[in-house]
């Protein structure tokens, strides 16, 4: 029975010696140089940010440090000595822990079992449960060791990952985009924990693309772009704009929202949808009502897993119910399936681009036809007109600036941002009355994300009702006229953007409706 001591006595180092030093690390994947001569060092007790866009090579670099990926060339020095990290077990042995962006947890096992899997084989589960409780309380990460992971919220799952690392007595903790699933309040709590760890000598590598977080938390930042290190900085002495320039190579694009002058009428009405969950891992929807008017963008904030998937299925028509539970421009459609709702003016862009928004192996032309076949001129006597379809795809590519090898390119060959532009474009070209978009800019680079947001804003100002479901609060505050919060299967009232703030939305996201209304 061997439980590691609490992580407050990392090995002493000579003053000024870095804990981790990377020298000229390179890693090539077929077609991309993910890391090009990357060098980086992290001091003991330092919170070091690695800043960069999606695809800048941050995640690859972290996987190399954690032993999940092997570098093609370069050197890793750990506490002043060259090491080769062949697999994650070696990394853990050295004292490197990692909290993954996509949690590496087992849903049908309980918290203690999940943690035990990452500890030495002779760990006793009963003693461990006690230790889990102790450590989680000490660092302000309360956890019930007996609960099954599938019953935990996303924030709680992240705590499991962090506590799992802490029990391994780490000297270096890597966190990959840890705040993407947290409420603003939970982010503050996490930062407190990280500062406490750093004060005990643990080094922290903090991967993010959120500039204000890095400014609030980190001592030093290494900025990456296109696989290379483009600079180092003290984030507290830089402005958001200067950090952004380092990160994307130009100024951060801004959206502008003109005032809608047209006639305001209800475009999408949701009337008290209640739906029991049909999957034990699902969420029950409770009495959800919302109206989206023409000419406005309404946002639904909240962390995925709070009924987002269920609500989107009820709106898109993947699941049906009472006929008047959903109305499009006054027409009851709640009993109709997805295709029939599209016939009546609904457009829907799902969260999963590959697999639901588009078929990966099909060409863009074919993908365009999957929803646009109902447009006049694209089919005759029930047969597709492929010349017209190709023209349609070509117009979509040109109008929405989709970078690809033409309409015959397979959907999977496009980057996330370009594919999303194509999918959104395909829907907009069908002149919808209502547009529903889930996570419009998830995994999309900053430039494309700004274009997509502006596209949605412009669409709404043409008189379309736009509903955006997103986890990114900043995005919602940028483009939405009103914001509602979906938490635990209940939807809050939609509040005008200038009458609310991230703090209040955050409380609602955590399910504290009472606290938020005060």
């Amino acid at each position: 029975m061997l439980i590691p001591p609490p992580p407050n006595h990392p090995r002493p180092l000579p003053a000024g010696e870095p804990r981790l030093q990377l020298l000229n690390i390179s890693k090539r994947y077929p077609g991309v140089l993910a890391n090009d001569q990357v060098s980086l060092n992290v001091m003991p007790g330092e919170i070091h940010a690695v800043l960069g866009e999606n695809g800048a090579g941050k995640s690859t670099l972290m996987k190399i440090i954690y032993g999940a990926v092997q570098a093609d060339s370069g050197q890793i020095q750990w506490n002043g000595r060259e090491v080769s990290i062949a697999n994650p077990a070696v990394a853990r042995e050295l004292g490197i822990g990692m909290v993954f962006q996509h949690f590496q947890l087992f849903e049908t096992l309980n918290v203690t079992e999940n943690i035990a899997l990452a500890l030495p084989p002779d760990t006793d589960l009963k003693t461990l449960a006690v230790r889990v409780r102790e450590v989680s309380e000490k660092y302000g990460l309360p956890l019930d060791p007996e609960r099954l992971v599938h019953a935990l919220s996303v924030g709680e799952r992240q705590r499991v990952e962090i506590v799992r690392c802490l029990l391994q007595n780490p000297q270096l903790l890597i966190l990959d985009e840890p705040t993407s699933v947290l409420t603003p309040q939970a982010v503050r709590k996490l930062f407190e924990t990280l500062r406490k760890l750093a004060s005990e000598g643990v080094s922290i590598l903090y991967i993010s693309h959120k500039l204000h977080e890095i400014q609030a938390l980190c001592d030093r930042a290494t900025v990456m772009r296109g696989g290379c290190v483009t600079g180092g900085a003290n984030p507290r002495q830089e402005s958001t704009a200067s950090l952004a320039r380092m990160m994307i190579g130009r100024d951060l694009p801004v959206c502008h929202a003109p005032v809608y002058a047209g006639e305001v009428k209800a475009a999408l009405e949701i009337d008290s949808i209640s739906r029991p969950k049909d999957d034990p891992f699902g969420v029950t929807l409770e009495d959800i009502s919302l109206t989206v008017n023409s000419g406005e963008v309404v946002g639904i904030a909240g962390i995925s897993g709070n009924g987002q998937a269920e609500l989107l299925a009820a709106l898109s028509g993947e699941s049906t119910g009472r006929s008047d539970s959903v109305r499009i421009a006054g027409l009851p459609v709640g009993h109709l399936h997805a295709g029939q709702r599209r016939d009546r003016g609904l457009s829907f862009v799902p969260e999963e681009r590959l697999g639901r928004g588009a078929v990966p192996s099909m060409s863009l032309t074919q993908n365009a036809m999957l929803t646009a076949h109902r447009q006049p001129g694209l089919s005759r006597f029930g047969l597709l007109d492929f010349k017209a379809a190709r023209d349609f795809a070509l117009r979509c590519i040109e109008r929405f600036d989709v970078r690809c090898n033409g309409p015959q390119a397979a959907a999977r060959s496009l980057s996330g941002g370009n594919l999303q532009k194509f999918i959104v474009g395909r829907e907009i070209m069908q002149a919808p009355k209502v547009m529903i978009v889930a996570q419009p800019t998830w995994g999309v680079d900053v430039g494309a994300a700004a274009t997509l947001r502006q596209t949605l804003l412009d669409l709404s100002r043409e008189g379309v009702g736009v509903l955006v479901v997103s986890e990114e609060l900043e995005e919602l505050f940028e483009i939405c006229d009103r914001i509602a919060v979906l938490a635990g299967g209940r939807l809050s009232a939609a509040m005008p953007r200038n009458e609310t703030n991230a703090e209040q939305i955050g409380l609602l996201m955590a399910g504290q409706a009472a606290a938020a209304s005060v």
């Binding site: 947890l105 049908t108 096992l109």
Partner: protein, 306 residues
């Protein structure tokens, strides 16, 4: 009344034993995320190997040979599906066809032979309990071993580190790999265990239950074992119940045939299969239970990447 039922119930346990062994093996295989539809084939290979070995070297050697042959038969399946990423369903079906053919080919030299079988070994004390004693504790050693195997597998899955790792691999091979577990090796072990257990089940059929070799003598029991695992929602003790249900129906329909019930014998022989499936479908309709116990990666190939 009860004295007429006791012989039926005694027979039930014997008839259920091969399903328990094969089912437990498949359960462990599936818990690792691999579905092996070759159970029928592995049972046949185990049956013929066990029978041949028992003829020459005795019953114990027969069971050892059955287990080894079953595990060996599972190896090519493991190689195809785990190392080469082949489709598990198709590879499993191929294994069943291969096992049926191979056992028939080897078995043609054994058709005229027969074995003495195995006498019941009453457990002193326990076998004297009225009603339950003769049913549960006046059986052959192999039946006792089937109880032990069920308890052992339950214990390993629920309480031990091995069980924990196995469940973890079955649920998310990606996460298990990221944490640093050798997913492929663990699955190899689980598949070979499944093969060995199917081999033991086959050896029991040919050396104790019948006891002689007949071509395709497993008569679909391998398939029932696969079905039992799913309907038992991957819980060993439920699997035991399912196996007894099947065993009971088998013996009942034999008695019915003996009593001259006016139904075609083919129809009566089908009853255990139909009844088992119907009952198990009814009791396993709880989706929550299914979801919690279903190995989430079941049937999906996992090849660790760089």
């Amino acid at each position: 009344m009860i004295e007429h039922l006791i012989p039926v119930l005694i027979g039930t346990l014997a008839a259920a034993t091969p399903l328990i062994f094969a089912g437990l093996g498949e359960l462990v295989t599936e818990k690792s995320g691999v579905i092996n539809l070759g159970v029928e084939g592995m049972m046949l290979i185990g049956a013929v190997a066990g029978f041949g070995a028992a003829l020459h070297w005795g019953l114990f050697a027969g069971f050892v040979a059955g287990a080894l042959a079953g595990a060996l038969a599972a190896l090519p399946f493991a190689l195809l599906t785990l190392s080469l990423g082949a489709n598990q369903a198709a590879s499993g079906l191929a294994l069943t066809i291969f096992g049926s053919g191979l056992s028939a080919f080897v078995g043609q030299y054994l058709v005229s032979e027969s074995l003495p079988g195995l006498q019941p070994w009453p457990i002193p004390g326990l076998s004297a309990i009225p009603v339950l004693g003769p049913i549960f504790f006046n059986q052959t050693v192999v039946v006792y071993l089937s109880y032990a195997a069920a308890i052992f597998v339950t214990w390993v899955l629920a309480k031990t580190r091995w069980g924990l790792v196995l469940r973890a691999v079955g649920e998310s091979p990606e996460a298990a790999h990221t944490i640093g577990y050798p997913v492929t090796s663990i699955r190899y072990a689980a598949v070979c265990f499944g093969g060995a257990m199917a081999g033991i089940a086959g050896a029991y059929l040919s050396t104790v239950y019948t006891p002689l070799w007949v071509q395709n003598m497993t008569a679909g029991r391998g398939w029932i074992a696969v079905a039992l695992v799913v309907f038992a929602t991957w819980k060993p003790l439920r699997l035991l119940l399912g196996a007894y249900l099947f065993g009971g129906m088998t013996i009942l329909q034999l008695h019915a045939q003996g009593l001259g019930v006016d139904l075609p014998s083919q129809l009566l022989s089908a009853i255990p299969y139909v009844a088992t499936i119907v009952v198990l479908v009814l009791i396993s309709r709880d989706r929550a239970l299914l979801q919690l116990n279903l190995p989430a990666s079941l049937g999906k190939p996992f090849i660790p990447g760089g």
